[in-house]
Amino acid sequence: MSARRVFSTDHKVVGLQYFFLALAAVTIGIVLSLLMRFHLVWPAAHLPFVRGGIMTPEQYLALVTMHGTIMIFFVLTTAPQGAFGNYFLPLQIGAPDMAFPRLNMLSFWLTLAAFLCMLAAFTVPGGAPISGWTAYPPLSGLGEVTGPGEGTGQTIWIIGILIFCVASLLGAINFIATTIDMRAPGMTLMRMPLTVWAWFVTAILSLLAFSVLLAGGILLLLDRSAGTSFFLPAGLVVNGELQGHNGGSPLLWQHLFWFFGHPEVYIAILPGMGVVAHVLANFSRKPVFGYRVMALALCAIGFLGFLVWGHHMFVSGMNPYSGLTFSLLTISIGVPSAIKTFNWLGTLWGGKIQFRTPMLFAIGFVSFFITGGLSGIFLAQPALDTMLHATYYVVGHFHIVMGVAAIFGIFAATYYWFPKMFGRSMDETLGKLHFWLTFIGVYCIFMPMHFLGVAGGIRRYADSTGAKYLAALQPLHEFMTIAAFITAAAQLIFFWNFFRSLKKGAPASANPWNATTLEWITTSPPAPDSFGGQFPRVYRGPYEYSVPGETADFLPQNLAPKGAAHGSGAAGVAATVGIPQRVYLTGAIMLLAGVLMFFMALVSAEIVRKGFSSDWQPLDLPWRILALSTAILLASSFTLAHSRNRLLANDDAGFRHWWGVTAILGLFFLAGLGISWRQLAVAGVGIATNPSSSFFYVFTAAHGIHVLAGIAVLVAVAFRAPRHLTRTTVAGVVSTYWHAINGLWVLLFVFLLLAK
């Protein structure tokens, strides 16, 4: 395989790279879970590949942490969006590629780097971290004093998450810009397949949620490495050793982490919902029941996902009317979820159902979604939640609704799109065998966990055999473990079927499922430019199956209606195809949305940290130099605007002159920040001196990096204009970024003044 193919910018290659990364990740994740299950039943057993032979509680916790992290980030987030989204979003909207192919490639390689970083945590002294996938401080913030894995392993884990956040943000910008600006002529919003809707809403959630996790992760890393106290309270004594932190609050981490954690549930499940609707319609030979409502429900779930987070901790001591509003909004997330479930069932109702393997997995998804939804009702009651929270009930619930349901969505997508991706078909018999073993096996693993939880079986305990009150339930553990091994073995059928079919599967036609959406109008696998130069024009909705009055059972989206200019039954072809210039501005705006959320997370963190602490000391900042720097930055906005005007007036020399002046003013601003840092350092105020100084350094450093990036772009563009962009576009994009970053600084400056 050539380096050109490995480092390809083709969305299909990038999609496959994500797919195989997720496949490797899920294999590791399953092995880790089997080790855990084995240990829970036979805690004294010698394991040949465990350091010391018998697994220690810390090693068990490391497995818990890494299983959760790998599965949530590198399987449930990566496969549905990164793999299938990258491969099929451009195909389904009739685009030649993603909006920013190089950025797309970069997203994948950063994700791979994050994955390798995560795995490296196993190899360092002390091993992998033990603080769980939620990395709650103080355990995750203090270092190796709190246990093996909390030294280098935890640091590497955080760095891996930070890299993953950046990769996800870049990916989200690409998905949003592509969906907004790269659709084929005729591909209106209400003609987009539900998969596209799902990837789009998921991308918005990723953009807003990963920015906040990025900010939180940086603060956690600073607590570990720079001696700050964002999350670490004073007076902590670990192993008889007093820790030198002051006034931080672990609740601040919960506040930031769950802003990401709640939408993450929907990031994992929404693409599966899209795929399931898509597959159910295809194999029921019926349009999706209530298509418009389904699309709106996807948007509503995304929107309400944030409000659920707000409700998470909002209730204490608040105005009762606000509580009522939040309660209502939170409860109402059940409405779009229920709408989707009823509409899936409505799609099946009266259809000519074909029980092919993708269909079975789609129905399995619906089954798990309903089961998980029903068990979730109990956790929504505080009185029950308090009792069940730390038990296996929660493990069973979230594995069914978030883990397995999403995985079944991935399996449905894999079996469904395999012929398109590889030009061959997977074996149906093996596929069905795989489905039934997995479907039954999963219920056998996770349903008993609910009973175990109700009986008081505590999760995260490495060994519960010593608890007498749980002795009667140990056979349940044994049953679940045997079921887990059988279910894991069933996945070997999938692997065999998958890799064998790559070489020896029956050749697939362009449209083996008689489907309607645009990915099926091109060859299997698609040509390098996706549509072989014949880019489609869209005339129809995405699910026109069994249309009354039509002889054909399905009508492809590009099929011109009777009486259209192309004539009856002709395939519509778009006149021109290219990357529209406006997509770059859209991309810049989305980038700025992510940047805004990042800084809002820091602002929010400062507000919460200040409210929780007794060690907050007002900082005597070098206001003069900061005010002067602010004035310089504002002036640079004027010079950039002038430069753009010169460009529009075709005055090239004037454009270059003022463009350069802007870059120089930006450098002056950075120098001003440097001087203010220097003055603080001379006064003995470092990043860890007190919380206000910590936030000041973080704010200015983060903003300075964004200004530096702007200067780099200004200089780069001055010497060499990008190939695909006109100069006017470049000037517009850079100006938007620069003005927004400058505006952000003004807001931060005012915030620092108010904080004083």
Binding site: T179, H311, S316, P320, I331, G334, H389, M590, K610, F612
Partner: protein, 76 residues
Amino acid sequence: MKLRLTVTCAVWTLLIGLTASHAVAQGCAMCYQTAAASGAPARVALRHGILVLLLPAVSLFVGILAFIYRRNDRAR
């Protein structure tokens, strides 16, 4: 007929709303209790911190949906 339906919906919404204050749906008991156990200034700070994060997020979410809706005409 339409007015009657609207009034009925409004009445039901109001009734549900009035009874919803005790329904702490999807609230995490652990987070809630930790927050509730904090002092009054901390709770106020938490509320403000949540709003600072929540309002931009929902505004941007709605803004991006409005953005794609406005661009819908270009696809026609």
